[in-house]
Symmetry: C2
Subunit: 157 residues, 2 copies
DNA sequence: TTATACTTTACCAATTCACTAAAGTTTTAT
DNA sequence: ATAAAACTTTAGTGAATTGGTAAAGTATAA
């Protein structure tokens, strides 16, 4: 399904942001420094920069420049799907070329074209239905973390 | 999801076999020549050979040697899933490394590991549930073809 | 015994991937 | 102002993978 390390890193970035920039109550989301994201998630800073550009172009993150700048989510985590994230950083997501092109096969009609269309739709569905909030909350639950607290204070046994 | 042209060709091959070697009633499945498959599906013969080796190792096809040799399905088309086909020709199917390895992320625990496991399972499901027979029948229905007749005689308008 | 077909191993050019590098630009704290 | 910290943009590159060729060999039926 063409998912590269950009998707792998992008999900880490978005989940990190969802967790560490979550507004405590009704305040604005906190700004997270890119160096903190890179350190926590083990992403080379220069490579993270490139991924951030794509996430920003898709309005999935907002950047704040300047001395105390950083990133925050572009909109609420429950309005961002996993598909949004992957589509933002990949150049095209499809299991095979057959899905990406209209005229994919042998004349007059490709025996597998319809099958690939169905496969693609079925594989895409869970990505469209799962939100960043769901993924992050599930992780936080399993690791018994306080959303606003950070890792150190409240790791489960 | 790591699907290469081997999967693309493999599905064509298996659907071609399912269609052209379907036993008319209770007879044995017909043998289909590799050159016919290659021609109909537009696959370089030498490359088709390599794919056939993998399909044969997985018992998805049987080969018959000799002058009037060729291939037939290894078992009934309704007992072959699309996942079987792709798993046979790919070296490993997973959206990202996170799924393939136990220790994928940053210590002490990867924030995205569980999410990727869920994603993988959800994307795999439709492939496991769809059989070659379903895919082929659907195509034959839409193109109004007689399973035993071949393309020429009965193409729909 | 020969034509036809399948099998196996080896090889390679082109592309893509994942990342590095370096020279900027922008903004804020002081 | 001005320096520090952070983000932006454009190039480049080594390694790995992909998609396909090539060639020599093996097996079987007519």
């Amino acid at each position: 399904m063409n998912l590269t390390s950009k998707s792998r890193y992008a999900l880490k970035i978005m989940m990190d942001l969802a967790h560490y920039s979550a507004p405590p109550s009704d305040q604005a989301a906190a700004i997270v420094r890119r160096s903190d994201i890179a350190r926590r998630q083990g992403i080379p800073t220069e490579y993270l920069d490139q991924i951030m550009i794509r996430l920003r172009s898709a309005n999935l993150v907002e950047s704040v420049r300047g001395r105390s700048g950083g990133y925050r989510l572009g909109r609420a985590a429950d309005r961002i799907t996993l598909w949004d994230v992957f589509a933002a950083v990949e150049d095209g997501i499809y299991p095979v070329e057959c899905v990406a092109t209209e005229n994919c096969g042998f004349a007059p009609s490709c025996i597998t074209h319809d099958a690939w269309s169905s496969i693609f739709a079925a594989m895409r569905e869970p990505l469209v239905k799962t939100t960043l909030a769901e993924a992050t909350d599930k992780w936080a639950d399993e690791h018994r973390m306080c959303p606003a607290g950070g890792i150190r204070e409240c790791r489960g046994s």
